[in-house]
Symmetry: C2
């Protein structure tokens, strides 16, 4: 009589460990997208050939502006005295993934700015935005990368006044900074402020609150809107205002088949196990 319930409980326990790693990073190379005015990317082959020692040898150097491709904006980028790159505590670069999907809206309005309502909608579906979250806009822009004209959505990619791509409204990031405790706010476009911004208020709010920015994040359709853990592993650049980052997610597909976040799933799991045990014992 007792064994079916025990097996059920153990079944719940053992399905907690099927992790999938998803790379959310665009490659860094000559096609990497920089904001106009940045120096060009350079990649120099130092050696690529056989050696007298009998082994093959390859080695290169590269030069890049901090703010190109998939990269971090450190708080110092737009706020004097904010953390520079090496000052960001490692634990601030990791958090539960909160993916705010605005693809439908952004496909109609290329100047779309994520609103507080978008965040409320997310919470209505998945529960409260967890402490330390990595909150990313998914506008569908990743598919355009690295086509510069498509990403900046202009025929004059050297003129920012012609840019039309979505980003965060300052009211939404201000609301997050006041009402939730998030580690990172980011976008799949070249700027956390939308393309038509001239004063970059979102960047300033992020900097002022020591919230880490991340831009040109890729492939967000590959992960669920809730239930992942996202890592924003920026190069540890002394005195940097940002830097190239390896951004990736860990997704436990077994653990969270509904949209709720991992902690919530664990709680659910405990509740389920408890109910199984209680019912099992009561029916003995």
């Amino acid at each position: 009589m007792m064994f079916p319930w025990m097996l059920l409980s153990l079944c719940f326990l053992t399905t907690c460990s099927s992790l999938r790693i998803v790379d959310l990073t665009h490659e860094q190379n000559h096609a990497t997208i920089y904001w106009p005015g940045n120096p060009a990317y350079n990649f120099t082959i130092l050696y690529r050939n056989g050696t007298n020692g009998g082994y093959w040898y390859e080695s290169n150097s590269f030069a890049t502006a901090e703010h190109g491709g998939t990269h971090v904006d450190s708080p110092a980028h737009f706020y004097q005295g904010g953390w520079r790159t090496q000052q960001i505590p490692m634990e601030k670069l990791v958090g539960k993934g909160v993916i705010v999907n605005v693809q439908a809206k952004a496909s109609i309005n290329h100047d779309y700015q994520v609103t507080v309502q978008d965040l409320t909608d997310w919470e209505n579906s998945y529960g409260l935005i967890p402490d330390g979250a990595v909150v990313l806009m998914n506008s569908g822009w990743s598919d355009k990368y690295p086509d510069k004209n498509a990403v900046f959505n202009t025929t004059t990619p050297n003129d920012p006044s012609t840019f039309h791509f979505p980003g965060w409204h300052e009211d939404a990031v201000t609301w997050l900074s006041k009402n939730r405790k998030v580690n990172v706010i980011g976008v799949d476009t070249p700027s956390t402020d939308y393309g038509q911004s001239t004063t970059f208020p979102t960047h300033v709010v992020l900097g002022k609150n020591n919230i880490i920015g991340v831009e040109n994040v890729g492939f967000l359709d590959s992960i669920p809107e809730s239930g992942s853990t996202i890592f924003v592993a920026v190069v540890k650049l002394s005195d940097g205002s940002g830097g190239p980052a390896r951004v990736f997610a860990m997704v436990d597909d077994n653990q969270c088949t509904s949209g709720s976040d991992a902690h919530f799933c664990h709680v659910n799991l405990h509740v389920l196990v408890s109910i199984s045990l209680i019912v099992g014992l009561l029916t003995l």
Copy 2:
């Protein structure tokens, strides 16, 4: 009668989630240690001042050889046709941490090379090296970084023939490549081959087997010899033979108080919960 056992079970379940993030990366700057012959590091301030828009703005560019500071050796570094940096699957850059502590031996013999016996000793303490492991030598060398003469252990840091620092013996990495399935092999010194090597056999074995190398890893005394998960988040450099990496660990101090790895702990947890339930039910 049933409740104490249920509470005991739930207690085991709920102690599984206290994670600590540990940064294992040295800062990248003018003190970064490169092998002799590499071009110098460059950091250029593009802008660092107030703006007409009323906001503060900082932006920089930098130039670096791939193989300096805490960095990855891609398989292509010493093996023709091996993965270049952007070709390394993301899941190969993550794994259970296996820290092989040879500090006592390396403090006596600065030319120490990690042996198969050191790996066997680790397994005798902690169990089989898990599939996908990140296996790192901890020689105590991290404390010397970034003092170039101390790290290369010479008064002539431009002359590799005078270098004396520990690394991996080729027999140990060959044994790992044949008998275990590891993702990454690394060191807290400037080279996976020891300082006196001239033909770099360890590098070649790593490349030939598409095992990722990582060098100048820092602060390994901050994590347990078993029970962590280590991330080797290299810049996603097209055609790279390596690149700067953000290396960090997640440690669940509650989960693994003994030395065994996380999977083993989970199994133990299940066994404990099962025993609790069985004993609880039998004593009803």
